[in-house]
């Protein structure tokens, strides 16, 4: 199924970066992890009388190898693996597409709205982040060194942008009851609980049109009808 168009109340943010080929993965991970740091909570533990307690989220520093940059991510190997998988596919698609090296990766947060049979559940996005990537080719080591630093500086700006958006305290899904929690959060990880999200990407050909649209569901939807 094609990507869901943003709903009326879905806020959309766009970030753009120009990177060298070998920097794509780290730059994407830095941005995605920073967003998910803000969009993950500890695991909910529901108790009697409709109360719940929240687990603890750990964090860790990550140094980039190809960029003069460091970022903080949530301490969850499962989450890191999921992001690396998606970013790896994006990077491969960029490389194999033969395009000019332009593409975008999207991180969408959504809620599930249960529908009655025979209709399947709706996915209603409430926040969409799009990272536009432009891959540059560099001629020599000197340019690569400069690129390391420049991209590092650019990523610092992106982090500040992301934090600005997060600070607006705009719409967030209501905290769910126990029966509703899977419609709001991804409860499949064992140590943290991000909001339900999906990652998709597009590779742009030189004409600017979208050549490939690939949807990768990283959350197991329970849609066996």
């Amino acid at each position: 199924p094609p990507g869901a168009a943003p709903a009326m109340n879905c806020r959309a943010e766009v970030l753009e970066v120009s990177v060298e080929g070998r920097q794509v993965e780290e730059a994407m991970l830095a941005v995605l992890h920073t967003i998910l740091l803000h969009r993950s909570t500890g695991k909910f533990h529901y108790k009697k009388e409709g109360t719940y307690s929240i687990g603890t989220v750990g964090t860790q520093d990550v140094d980039c190898d190809f960029i003069d940059f460091a970022y903080v991510r949530v301490s969850s190997e499962e989450l890191d693996r999921a992001l690396r998988k998606a970013v790896g596919e994006f990077k491969d698609a960029l490389r194999n597409s033969g395009s000019d090296g332009m593409g975008q990766i999207s991180l969408e947060f959504y809620q599930k709205k249960k529908s009655r049979w025979p209709f399947s559940d709706e996915c209603i996005p409430w926040e969409l982040w799009t990272i536009k990537v432009n891959v540059v080719n560099l001629a020599n080591e000197q340019e690569r060194q400069i690129c390391r630093e420049k991209v590092g500086e650019k990523l610092c700006e992106k982090i500040i942008n992301i934090v600005e958006v997060m600070n607006r305290h705009e719409y967030l899904p209501k905290m769910p009851t126990q029966s509703e929690v899977d419609n709001v959060f991804d409860t499949s990880l064992k140590d943290v609980q991000p909001y339900l999200y999906k990652i998709s990407y597009q590779i742009t050909d030189s004409l600017g049109t979208s050549v490939t649209t690939t949807m990768r569901r990283l959350i197991k939807d329970t849609l066996a009808l």
């Binding site: 989220v57 460091a70 970022y71 400069i146 500086e153 982090i159 997060m166």
Partner: protein
């Protein structure tokens, strides 16, 4: 403001949230300047001591300092909590890098739910703080601290003082959280003009290298709280768990109710755990600097001159600074302060004649200017270069190799002093060093330093170089190669400098040489009678010839 809308329980909770938020803010900031990577674990079961559902360790000394600064008060309008991050070099110069401000303004949000929304938003704000502390320039500086400088923190409460940040400082906002009693704002003002202080307001402390020191002595500033080094070990080895939380023994276990919101259940329990006695602070002040420096001193004959801060001008000699293999693309640029984001071109002696083989200067890799400004000017990027000898690796390496020179690279000639007029250089580490040929400086010939045996120092030394390939930090001589500007190895078999030296004094023409002239005259005189005889013999032919000309 009258808080009639706020229940007393809510008010108590809010005060507690703000207090612990302030303490956690300080922890995040200081830990982000320790110079090492932070890692905490997620836990699906709430432990009861993790405020805001985040695993942020509590360094006891930091909590202690924060509480001392707050003195039982909370951030309020006009009373902000500030964490000042500064850099202190081995020579005792210090410079403010950042001021993190936790402030409260009067804009109240009466409708907001304290124990639910405010709490979660404070948690979000701490996450933002974790992210932002890694993107200001001081982060990268702090990751490379330990040898030439340390990063210090200072907490104060009251009015924000930004004057020490130099001109043109920038501000980044971390975030805000509205509460019924005001809006909490968290921001950071950071210096971008590094290595040059326009006002001379730093304290003089004696240099801390040249001798092994047992502790890093901080002179308390007269009217402000003392500085503390960010990087320290609380006496345990790596991987140890920090001692438990604050000594008030109060933890916050929040239970949230999902429906309806008004039935929020909020419990505060007293945890029954032991609080260890506060760690004695002077064990935390570690001789990182002294250790690293004395090691360097004994191996590389460094020469230091305590910067003459406001006491006369600092005469800077030619720097004898090279990192092996760097091409000096701008030979007349000094590594110096002054211009934001770059290296100022400072007029120096023309490099020709007998001075051609004297010291050259090189500009550091652009990476050293990570601190100067985020956008480094394009002219600096030209200096990044590789030679066949290999690249000078990370900026960290460069920063160290700046102070290493090969013994014997001295040319035994009087060194022309370049006086950088009106440019006192307090941060000598960023500027060329004064070269002292005489060994009257005890810094040059320090007493032999014993090998470090203390595990504390040892672990620090090995861990001090984090984040970059600094296996050679305590290595010694770097081969110094004189590489004049624009010299290319692949065109001429010799480099430009050698060519220039060889051909700048071409030999004189032999005919102009006095010796040869004298020799030929003697020969001429000797052969004169012979020639006269020949001419007399042929006189008739000569006469006939002359007649044909008439």
């Amino acid at each position: 403001a009258m808080d009639t809308d706020l229940s007393s329980q809510d008010r108590k909770d809010l005060d507690k949230f703000i207090k612990f938020f302030a303490l956690k803010t300080v922890q995040v900031i200081v830990q982000a300047r320790l110079g090492e990577k932070i890692c905490t674990r997620s836990s699906s079961s709430p432990t009861g001591s993790d405020w805001f559902n985040l695993a942020i360790k509590d360094i006891p000394e930091v909590t202690h300092e924060a509480k001392k600064a707050l003195a039982g008060q909370l951030p309020a309008v006009g009373r902000s909590m500030c964490v000042e991050i500064s850099l202190k070099t081995s020579e005792g110069d210090s410079m403010e890098l950042e001021i993190w401000c936790l402030e409260m303004n009067e804009k109240c949000d009466k409708e907001i739910k304290v124990s639910y929304t405010v709490y979660n938003r404070l948690s979000l704000l701490l996450k933002s703080l974790l992210a932002i502390t890694r993107v200001t320039p001081a982060y990268r500086l702090s990751r490379k601290q330990g040898h030439e400088y340390v990063i210090l923190y200072r907490i104060y409460f009251g009015e924000v003082q930004l004057s020490g940040l130099g001109e043109g400082f920038q501000t980044v906002r971390v975030g805000t959280v509205g509460t019924p009693v005001g809006t909490i704002t968290l921001s950071c003002a950071y210096r971008i003009n590094l290595a040059f202080m326009s006002t001379r307001q730093f304290e003089r402390t004696p240099p801390i290298m040249g001798i092994i020191i047992d502790h890093f002595v901080d002179r308390p500033y007269p009217s402000s709280s003392p500085m503390h080094p960010c990087n320290y070990r609380a006496g345990e080895d790596n991987g140890a768990v920090y001692p438990s939380v604050e000594d008030s023994q109060e933890v916050c276990t929040t239970s949230f109710s999902t429906s309806p919101p008004s039935q929020c259940v909020f419990t505060v329990t007293k945890a029954h755990f032991q609080t260890p006695p506060p760690v004695v602070t002077d064990t935390l002040k570690v001789p990182v600097m002294g250790l690293a420096f004395s090691h360097q001193l004994s191996s590389s004959r460094l020469s230091y001159q305590p910067a003459a801060l406001g006491v006369g001008s600092a005469d800077m000699g030619y720097p004898v600074l090279f990192a092996g293999g760097l091409n000096a693309a701008h030979p007349h640029q000094l590594i110096g302060p002054g211009k934001e984001g770059g290296v100022p071109p400072i007029p120096s002696q023309p490099a020709h004649g007998t001075q051609a083989d004297q010291e050259r200067m090189c500009t550091p890799l652009d990476g050293v200017h990570y601190s100067a400004a985020t956008p480094s000017s394009s002219e600096d990027t030209e200096t990044v270069s590789n030679s066949s000898e290999g690249k000078c690796g990370s900026p960290h390496d460069l920063l160290e190799t700046i102070f290493i020179r090969k013994v014997g690279a001295f040319v035994n000639k009087p060194i022309n002093q370049v006086t950088m007029a009106n440019l006192d250089i307090p941060f000598a580490m960023f500027a060329p060093k004064n070269v002292e040929l005489e060994d009257n400086d005890t810094m040059v010939n320090p007493p032999d330093s014993p090998e470090t045996e203390s595990p504390l120092q040892g672990s620090l030394h090995s861990e001090g170089s984090s984040g970059s390939s600094t296996g050679n930090t305590h290595d010694d001589f770097v081969m110094v190669d004189f590489k004049p500007a624009f010299s290319k190895d692949d065109i001429l078999p010799m480099d430009l400098g050698t060519f220039y030296r060889e051909f700048q004094n071409p030999p004189q023409l032999s005919s102009l040489s006095i010796d040869i002239g004298a020799q030929s005259m003697a020969e001429d005189l000797d052969s004169l009678p012979e020639k006269l005889a020949v001419h007399e013999k042929n006189v008739k032919e000569f006469d006939a010839f002359v007649e044909t000309l008439q």
